[in-house]
């Protein structure tokens, strides 16, 4: 599904380059559930963002479902991305002024899905995550776990093939975290490819493979 070849990412700090990722080669196959681990600052989030095409590598080749991402124009990348990738963040990142329903609906707005269809899809999703009763509440009125559920629901609403999650359970207690992990497990069983960043061995164990990152290189 994804192939990274000689990917590096650096920032110019003064005259020097500070490498965040150094010469990374990585293949992620369809249907995998990969956990990325490593100490703080090792480049996990950066790697995830590059995989999701949110961030651009400084160097290297990248293929996503057969397309050479490094050759694509902004517009094509954006199309590829919004059809196939869903993102989940540690800090949930919901839009505060929108209700649960509206938050989940937002990705569909950018894919020109008709209103009636949107309604049905969001209703489905609410049902699936057992949060129908919360649909008119605002994020601030939800618990952290509920917010993360909404975040995941939003990431999944457009049926992406790839789900990228950056420490999705980082702000949750262990019980909530476990629920999320079980949900991921199930999603993966349904065919969604998942890459998650995590600090917890226990969470990593839900996945099928672990990538260890140290100072921007896979070990």
């Amino acid at each position: 599904m994804i192939e990274l070849k000689g990917i590096s990412k650096w920032y110019n700090t003064g005259a020097n380059k500070t490498y965040v990722l150094r010469d990374v080669d990585l293949i992620i196959r369809e249907g995998e559930f990969v956990s990325v681990m490593g100490p703080s600052g090792s480049g996990k989030s950066t790697l995830l963002n590059i995989l999701g095409m949110l961030d651009e590598p400084s160097e290297g080749y990248q293929y996503f479902m057969g397309e050479a991402v490094h050759l694509l124009k902004e517009k094509q990348k954006s199309n590829l991305y919004k059809k196939n990738v869903g993102f989940v963040f540690q800090a949930y990142h919901l839009i505060d002024e929108l209700t649960v329903f509206e938050n989940i609906e937002t990705p569909l707005l950018y894919q020109d899905v008709k209103q009636s269809e949107r309604k049905a899809m969001v209703a489905d999703m609410l049902d699936r995550f057992n949060i129908v009763g919360k649909k008119d509440l605002f994020p601030a009125q939800l618990s952290g776990g509920q917010q993360q559920l909404v975040g995941i629901a939003r990431a999944l609403i457009a049926n992406p093939k790839l789900l990228l999650a950056d420490e999705p359970t980082g702000n949750l207690n262990s019980k909530q975290g476990e629920e999320i992990m079980q949900l991921f497990r199930k999603l993966n069983d349904d065919g969604v490819t998942i890459v998650q960043v995590t600090h917890s061995e226990k969470n990593a164990a839900y996945g099928s493979r672990v990538i260890d990152l140290l100072d921007g290189t896979i070990i």
Binding site: S45, N49, L54, D55, K75, S78, Y81, K82, F87, F89, A91, H93, L94, I95, D96, E97, L98, E102, E105, T106, P107, L109, Y110, Q111, R154, A158
Partner: protein, 797 residues
Amino acid sequence: MWKNYLNITVRNLKRHPLFSFINISGLSIGLALCMLIALYLKDEKSFDMFHSKKDRIYRIVRDDIQPDGTATHDGNTGMKQGPAFKEAIPEIEAFVRIQSERLPVKVGNEVFEQEGMYADSNFFSVFDFPMKQGNPATALSGMYSVVLSEDVAVKLFGRKDALNNTIELPLGDDRAFIPFQVTGIVPHSPLNSSIDITMLLPIQLNQRRDGGDNSWLNFFLNSFVVLNENADPKTVEAKMEKVYTASARDEIREMREKFDFKGEMRYGLQTLKEMHLSTKYVSGNGLKDSSKPIYGNILGGIAIFILLIACINFVNLTLARSLKRAKEIGIRKVVGGERRQIIIQFLGETFLLCLIAFLLAVVLVFLALPVFNVLSGKSLSFAYLFDIKLLLVYLGLFLLTSLLAGFYPAFVLSAFDPVKTLYNRVRYAGKNYLAHSLVVLQFAIAAFLIISTITIYRQFNHLTGMDLGYNDKNLIMLRTEQMKSDRLHTFKNELLKDPSIVSIAGRQGGSWYTVAKVDGKSMDFALEVLDTTRFETYQIPLVKGRNLSPSFPSDSTSSVLVNEEFVRRAGWKDINGKQVDFFYDSLKYDVVGVVRDHHYESLAEKIGPQLFIMHPKYSYGELAIKVKEGQGAKAIDHIRKVSKELFPLVPFNYEYKDVTNKRQYEVEEKFQKIISYSAIMAIFISCIGLFGLASLAAEKRTKEIGIRKVLGDSVLGISSRLSIRFLQLVMIAVVIAIPAAWYALNTWLENYPFRINIGAGVFVFTVFILVLIALLTTGYQSLKAARANPVKSLRSE
């Protein structure tokens, strides 16, 4: 999609009510002002445009060119020019002459004072003034016909039908009242018409009275000509030149010999459309005052300034707050939003806010229109707003404002990198150059307006409070009929019987300029018909020689007084043996005294040479009556009684001299008020903008403030640190504004011969005021932020 955007917008507005209020109300005020001024300008530009022949109607104007090359421009002509040009130049289809005069009107036993106008009988075929009753083609063809406007008809006849009724006017021999028949009634003339019809009379009456004035060199009315469809005004002007030199040759020669007149005269054509906004050829004699375009320009400038300030607020506040929306933008991008869509969302938001502001502005205009009318001296109506062209202007204004205010934020916001915003890696500091420069610009404009307000106010006070050289307090000016000396004295003696009246002096009424030979050279001066009590009544001291007096019987026929300026111009060291030699009656007068200079004209003019004469051939038409302090009302009762007895047919018409004098500065006064109000608006809008920015800055730095506090910084230290940043901006603004204001105001002041100098005081004061305002607006926010509980602000991070 749009519903989603709308929800976000509305919820954001609701969540920050103060902020929304500041943002929208500032823009509303700016827009409302622009709308008002657009109305004003439209009205100015629309003057006289309702005449269907407007492209072909021209006024005959003159340039009098002096031997030294300087020219004076004048829009006045005489009876002769219209017919003479029409006869000789085929391109001229028709001419109309108009001249105004205030006349007493007798209806039954009642006498009214009424502004009237003489016009040629084809008046209604040249100008498009509809007639309500009567036949426009013939209404003025009878010698003793009169056309009235509706309101004058009501004034004279009450509700009774005025048509075919009779009024009496003092236009017979020796100004005897003779009957006139009302042959037409016209509606009130449009407000944007230079010609205001009140009481229209055939111009032949005027001609008859002045003995069939057939001179090329008498100028007292306005002549209009209508050219053929295809006529070129330049060609016509050239022909006019020829006609004039040929026909007026003898008259000019005589003038040159008699008056030592060396100038040359050129006739020209001024289009009707340009007339109102022309300052070159002044109006008068039946035409409403023309406007100086400078006032329109200044108003337009102010409108743009204020709209700019409001837009700056909008941009600044939107940008400042947008930082709080960076997260939303990041999320929208992460879930698939493209940059284009984000731009559209934010532009849409701006449009919505602008729309709200716009609707509010319309309400504001509605509420403010009466005040604005008083200020601008216009009678604009709210209905004017709904004119198609003006609506287009407003639409344009709306689009422009929305784009101006929305474009920048939309572009900046849409460029946010989601990776940075969502991972808290954005550093906002240092990116504030734009916001800061805009604040500087805003306050520079505010400072400019404050300095202007104060300076204009000072100049106004300078003009109105200046020593006139005479005392205009408790001085009543009374218009009378023309009186020779004996009648004047009877009147005066009757009036003086009441103890409230201190002294009385007759004047000729109006101003009169002439020319005479002084030491062999010709000299222009103002001529005053003197009554010996003149200087005592006006309290003007004599600086040399003596007053004219009945105890020198020869005074009335052979002596004159002059003012100091006259002596200066004549280059005299002494007045002993000096004489003034009048051309037209070949009489020589001895100069027997010099009076101190005083402002006999408005302060917009320098004091020129003035000469006082008492020859019995002159008559008096005005009385200056000095009354005792606080006894004015009593004196006026007495004056009215005596006038009624002696002159039953003259309407009672008086005014205090100080009131008249003050009225000469109406334009300045109006202007001063308009500028002050705009300055207040500008400052207000700038302040709310600063207030908003300060609150955002404080909010943005709550964490920093929290840390500083934990580290032991004091409330005062923190809040002053926050305020100082804004103070610096205000200071930069002042530094920019001062030279600009200094230059602009000096240019303006050069129009006044008696002007103030701009001292440092006004600048110091402006700095002080602005610093105070900035401290007050930002201080509250800074203090609030500094006093907040640090634990709370840190924990929420």
